[in-house]
Each structure stands twice: as C-alpha cells, then as structure tokens.
Amino acid sequence: MSGVRVLVGTRKGAFILTSDAKREKWDVSGPHFAGWQIYHLKGSPVDPNRLYASQNNGWSGQVVQRSNDGGKTWEVVGNKFEYDGDPGTHLYYDDKPRPWEFKRVWVLEPSLTDPDTVYAGVEDAALFRSSDGGQTWREYSGLRSVKGNLWTPGAGGLCLHTILLDRSHPKRVTVAISAAGVFRTDDGGETWRAATRGLKSPYELPDPEAEVGHCVHSIAMHPSRPDVLFMQKHWDVMRSDDAGGSWREISGNLPSDFGFPIAVHPHEPETIFVVPIKSDLEHFPPDGKLRVYRSRTGGDEWEPLTKGLPQKNCYVNILRSALSVDTLNDNGTGVYFGTTGGQVYASRDSGDSWKAIVHDLPAVLSVQVQTLP
C-alpha cells in the first residue's frame, strides 16, 4: 500500500513522519541528529530509501548524512565543499568586497535519474554536485561568473536555496539565490545566465530592474511544464512562462505579497500555493491569521485556505523550504507545511482543510514530502 513520508528539518534535529495513504495516523521518529540544525532533507526520486540530510551547527560546521533505508540509519558522507580555484570576492553588507567563504548547505537536491548524484546549494552562494553519493563534491564555478562579485547577502545570508532539475532538459538546472536572483544553465553547468528579466525590486535595489540583486525567496515548477516557473520573491509573487526568460507579477489579491515558500499542485499545474507573511520586518502572518493562499488560475486570483488553521494570535513564520506536496491522487492530494512554532500542518484535500500532525517540534526549517510506492 502506498504511503507518505514527511521529512522535517528543524533547528534541533530531524524528524520523519510516516503514514499510509489515508494520512490519518502518523508515526513520528526522531529527533535524528539531536541538537544540530537540519536545514534540509530530501529523498531520491529514483530510490525513495536514499535520503540526504544537511546537518550543521555553530561549533562544528557542516556535515552531510546519507541514509539507504528511508532514515532508519544514517552514515556521514563528505563535507569538503571547496570552491573551484580562487573564488575572489562578493560584496558584503557594508558594500565592501569580502572573500567567498563556505558556511553551510541550504539545500540538497537529488538527481532525477541517479540516486548517487545529488546537488548541494550552499552559502556563500554556490552550486556543488556529487556523483558518488555525497562522498565528494565539485563546484560549478561558472555560476559565480554571472556578476558574482556584485552579489550581496540578504538577511539570511548569501545562500543558494533552490535547485530545479528538469527531466525533459537533462542539462538544464535553474537555481535561486537570496539577494542575487535566479540563474540558469542549459549545458550541464558550464555556462550560466541570469534569469531575472521582469523582476522589480524598488525597495531593495538602486536600480530596481538590475540583472542581479533581487531577493528571490523560492521558485517552483511542475514537472510536466518545465518552462512555467513560479516565484515567491521578497516582495511579489511572480510567474515565468519561458523558463525564467522573463517574469510577470501574479500577486493579485493576496493580503501581502511578501513570503517565503511557493509550491505547485502535483496534478493541477495551474494550482499554486503561497503563505503570505506581513512584511520583511514582521515575519508573521497578516492579522495573526495563518492562511495558505491557493490560486487555481496560475496566479492573480487567490483564495484563502483557513479551515483547521489558527485564525487569531498566530505569529509564526513559514520558511522557504517548509512547504511541500505529496503526489497522491485517488485519496486527495496532500499539502504540508511547517512553522517556526514547531507545527507541521497537513491537508489531504489540496488545502481545503488542515490538521496539525505534530504540534511541538523545534522551529521547522524544511518540510519535504515523499510519496512512497
């Protein structure tokens, strides 16, 4: 019988929530790596029992873990993330050049075709790839050639936090970097270009339409339509119909177009989800009401989804990697998100109603869902 595994990264460890396809009863395992920050866990689409986890703390830095049994046991793999050659400098908060320095892995994106191949998005922003199950890593340094010397960290750091792989274009990789933008390669990572035309950041950039510098919070894609991308920017929800060649705003009637995550429905490519946050200063839902917003029209027209979610005195945040969907269909499609208050909410009906499947975890950094055969 099919089921669902929800991989939850938190400030103090990882948790794995499992259920059958009914998604009524959940088994909670963890904390795995207790006491460590787990920025991201993700499973291989090829082998669901192959998981990768990014583990770090302030004392000992970055560790990468790998599981071959769905998270029951783990082994440490490689954590040597060395930039290719002399990476030079980027700009710092004071506008002065600062040498590139590896800090942590924000995202691990397993290959669509090979369980031993996995990409890592890191801070200071760079893309690495391993083809030996995470033992060794190589940087795609061509990414930094797209005006990397002008990239400046946002409040969360100069992090590469989203990696989109495209089954129909195996050599295409699209990445998003906070306070730098979206970048795409079509030749397997040798050459890159900015994919930021149409983005406007009048409150953050001297040139609101600059090629780099836009604070992209997350991007999402439906696998059946790889040229359609959706973006939650610092401010603005955006859409591209040409794989990032140009963007247009689709914020429409959202109560706030600030937020972090964005997700696409697995069976309805024009249905997308965001969680509006009041502002860059006030990282909590508008009016203290936790509302997921859904558009069934590919943007512009949004409806609040509130059933089962707190509608008063709610001041949690939902971080960029903490919204995910399962791919079940017959029993209703699942949507999941985690909060900085330690709840993981799940919906079995594409967002119409919600229930907290755990209440009191450490602050949730990431939620990734696996639909199991």
Binding site: F33, W59, G61
Partner: protein, 98 residues
C-alpha cells in the same frame, strides 16, 4: 596511545564514547594528535578545524593538563602526561548562547 575527550555533539557524530584512545605518530604534537583523530574517525573531518588551512574552528577549543591550548601552534609537542595517557587531551565546544 593518547586519550582524547570529545564534546557531546562529536561523540554522537562519531558514535563513540566521550573518551577515545588513539595511536599518534612521533613526535606527538597537537597537530599529529588531531591528524590521528581524524584518520581514526573520518566523520570528524572538518568539524574541529578547517580541511585546508588546518585552522581551529572558532568555537572549538583545546585543553591539555588544565591549560588552554587553543592557540598553540600545531607543531607544539604535547605535554608528558598527555603523551603517557595520564591526562586526556580535551576538545571542547565553547560555551555559546545565552
């Protein structure tokens, strides 16, 4: 053999007890002790000091015989009681946070 005391988070990472014993090549220095520790427990690579520069991570500290060795040269010979195993080399996570 020398004795090394690890902080809790590194014991868990290496799946060891708090105290481990390692064989260190002569001459026994702070650097050769760390080399031996990382060779015996590869999962600790990069968690105590930088791979390339060998610089100690800012919040990891070293103590030997009651003295703070955090800023000693890696070439400094270890004190006799560490070499004989009478005293452990202590690797400590600095107190951080509230």
């Amino acid at each position: 053999m020398i004795r090394v005391l690890l902080p809790t988070h590194l014991c868990r990472l290496a799946s060891t007890e708090r105290e481990v014993e390692i064989q260190v090549a002569e001459p026994m220095t702070l650097g050769s002790a760390l080399d031996a520790l990382e060779a015996r427990y590869p999962m600790l690579g990069g968690t105590i000091r930088d791979y390339t520069t060998k610089q100690r991570r800012a919040f990891m500290r070293f103590f030997a015989c009651g003295e703070d060795w955090s800023n000693e040269s890696l070439d400094t010979p270890l004190p006799g009681p560490i070499v004989t195993g009478t005293e452990p080399l202590r690797i400590v996570g600095a107190m951080a946070g509230g």
